[in-house]
């Protein structure tokens, strides 16, 4: 086994094949790419987020679908292509719990809960939106029904994410290996509580609690983005600190030593 | 030691309760003869009293009084931030509503 050669591509290929943490880094990058694509696809390509208003009348909804016809069909096509990316991402989160000093039950529960979370989280919406955009000449009432189905399945099904955050936060709080800082556990509680707050979307057609409302959507989105950004950074730290042991995760050495150690690690 | 601490906590509680009871007077003074009316003075005083209570809870009950400078400044900043947000949304909202 040779050490990495000079060119960046060569280095990348070497690391991809031989780096001791290749599986962890792979899953981490998949997660980063997934969230980037998620943002681009939902906000820019399909433009279904920020959400349309549930208060609209039927002609308005049909107009909304017509404006986005191609974007919806192509964008959700890409969604169908890539939503399998969440599998390595959830595997990494489950792995973080496996690395803690807690029962394996936590990691497996989280893995199973989140393995299907993409279905209520985005795929049902994608299917309903695709069918809605499929035939612009369909009975407008039916298009309106698909519109409700899409947004409510997307915003209104949060149990998976609430219970999932709770499982993760309990694991973090009782963990003695220091895989995550405790404050992230408490932040998980904030996130779980905002998942409760979207439930009124099932009840209101307008106002701050509707699925596009200031409280049910905007404030929740801010919390969700903050939470996601935190765990992406913290998982990166976890991978950097990983020693493949079972005891407490060591802290990162200071920067100067780290670069030296990296090259040693690479030689190993 | 225990005595002085508990006495201090009791006084804090009394102050907080007195401030809560002040709301009754505030509430009565708001309406003339049972006619409901909006009042900026009542709104602003209610919010300010509440935030003062929050700061007392921070300082005394949550022991920020003894905490490092960073936490003391951070909690004070938070009280100011809440005041700015609440009063700001009230006044800007009023200005927009006309």
């Amino acid at each position: 086994m040779s050490t990495p050669t000079g060119s960046p591509v060569g280095r990348f290929l070497w690391n991809f094949r031989h780096h001791p943490k290749r599986e962890l880094w792979f899953a981490w990058w998949v997660m980063v790419i997934f969230y980037q694509l998620y943002g681009v696809l939902f906000f820019l390509v399909t433009r279904v987020q920020p959400p349309a208003s549930p208060a609209w009348d039927t002609p308005m909804v049909v107009q909304w679908f017509n404006d986005r016809h191609f974007g919806l069909l192509a964008g959700f096509g890409v969604v169908f292509l890539i939503s399998g990316l969440c599998a390595p991402m959830n595997a990494l989160l489950a792995y973080s719990m496996r690395r803690m000093s807690v029962s394996r039950v936590f990691g497996y529960s989280y893995l199973i809960m989140y393995s299907l979370s993409a279905i209520p989280g985005m795929l049902v919406m994608a299917i309903a939106m695709t069918v809605g955009a499929l035939r612009p000449d369909r009975d407008p009432e039916l298009i309106h029904w698909l519109f409700d189905f899409a947004f409510l399945s997307f915003s209104g099904t949060m149990g998976v994410f609430m219970i999932g955050s709770l499982v993760w936060l309990v694991a973090i709080l009782i963990d003695k290996n220091g895989v995550f800082p405790k404050w992230f556990g408490y932040l998980g509680l904030c996130n779980a509580l905002t998942e409760v707050v979207v439930a009124p979307a099932w009840i209101f057609h307008r106002g701050v609690f509707a699925w596009n409302g200031a409280i049910a959507w905007w404030i929740n989105m801010v919390v969700f983005v903050a939470y996601t950004a935190c765990f992406i950074v913290l998982l990166r730290k976890m991978i950097e600190r990983e020693d493949f042991g079972t005891g407490p995760l060591p802290d990162l050495p200071p920067k100067a030593e780290r670069s030296q150690q990296d090259s040693v690690g690479a030689v190993q | 030691m225990s005595g002085t601490f508990n006495k201090r906590l009791a006084i804090v509680w009394l102050v907080l309760t007195a401030m809560t009871l002040a709301y009754i007077w505030l509430d009565h003074s708001a309406d003339d003869d049972g006619v409901l009316k909006a009042s900026t003075v009542v709104t602003v005083s209610a919010i300010v009293i509440a935030l003062v209570k929050v700061r007392i809870i921070f300082r005394e009950f949550m022991e920020v009084r003894h905490a490092p400078v960073l936490l003391r400044h951070l909690t004070d900043a938070w009280v100011v931030l809440m005041a700015v947000c609440l009063l700001g949304s009230y006044f800007i909202g009023s200005a927009l509503a006309g």
Binding site: R17, P20, K21, R22, E23, L24, F26, A27, L73, A74, F76, G77, V78, F80, L81, I82, S83, G84, L85, C86, A87, P88, N90, A91, L92, A94, Y95, R98, L111, I112, Y114, S115, L116, A118, I119, L123, V124, A126, I127, A128, T130, V131, A133, L134, R135, R138, D139, L142, L146, F244 | -
Partner: protein
């Protein structure tokens, strides 16, 4: 030593499931020839009215056995566990992928069954259920694509004297993933290869799934048998 009792039983459910799936596939009148997305609402309603019985029975069969592939996928995930990896991330990922396709398929299955439950309803509604069923059925590829690519990656990374799977299995899985990909974009066209009855979205996708089941079934069987032959020596 990890217990392996019953692995073979689970493995031999695969041909049984395959036979049931193939029979249900041919029993469903809408698969041969696949229904066109250009059919009018009335034509779709007539189809559900005329073929009610075959739709119901074939879909009930699928409803029973739709989840039948899960043991095979988990057996694959267990083989990945034995590979020369430092973390269980890839086998976790395969476990995370296992439930997705049956779940999506069950949604499609429900829409077909609902369509045939009251075929006398307004044609517009039957067409809506039919669209939902076909779109869901055609786009259920994301977990399958991820599964193939992850398995391929796991095999590429399995660097040891005697790898669990041979390298060509990885190449085959990448090929299957590529064959499945176009189906995700089926909604973009009503006719031609992308349409849900077209060459890419229907024939290539379903033949790729069938080929994957057959090839991976054989490979998996060989691997399990080989390991069982070696195990007494190792233990």
């Amino acid at each position: 030593m990890r217990r392996t009792d019953g692995e073979l039983i689970l493995f031999w459910t695969l041909p049984a499931i395959a036979i049931i799936w193939v029979s249900a596939f041919f029993l469903f009148p809408g698969f041969l020839h696949p229904m066109s997305p250009t059919m009018s609402a009335d034509a779709v309603a007539d189809f559900y009215r005329d073929e009610t019985a075959r739709i119901r029975y074939s879909m009930i069969l699928f409803n029973w056995f739709g989840v039948g592939l899960i043991p095979t996928v988990i057996l694959l995930a267990m083989q990945v566990r034995r590979m020369a990896h430092r973390t269980p991330i890839l086998s976790y990922s395969l476990i995370a992928c296992a439930g997705g396709p049956p779940c999506l398929f069950l949604i499609a299955n429900m829409f077909w069954l609902l369509g045939s439950f009251r075929p006398e309803r307004s044609p517009e509604l039957t067409q809506l259920l039919n669209d939902l069923a076909w779109v869901t059925f055609t786009v259920l590829v994301p977990y399958l694509i991820a599964q193939c690519l992850l398995l391929a990656l796991a095999i590429y990374w399995d660097r040891q004297e005697q790898p669990v799977f041979k390298m060509w299995v990885a190449h085959f899985n990448v090929l299957v993933a590529v064959a499945l990909a176009p189906a995700a974009f089926t909604a973009l066209a009503f006719s031609g290869p992308l349409a849900w009855n077209g060459l890419l979205s229907f024939w290539v996708k379903n033949i790729a799934i069938a080929a994957w089941i057959v090839v991976m079934g054989v490979v998996l069987g060989q691997t399990i048998l080989r390991r069982r032959a070696q195990e007494p020596v190792a233990a």
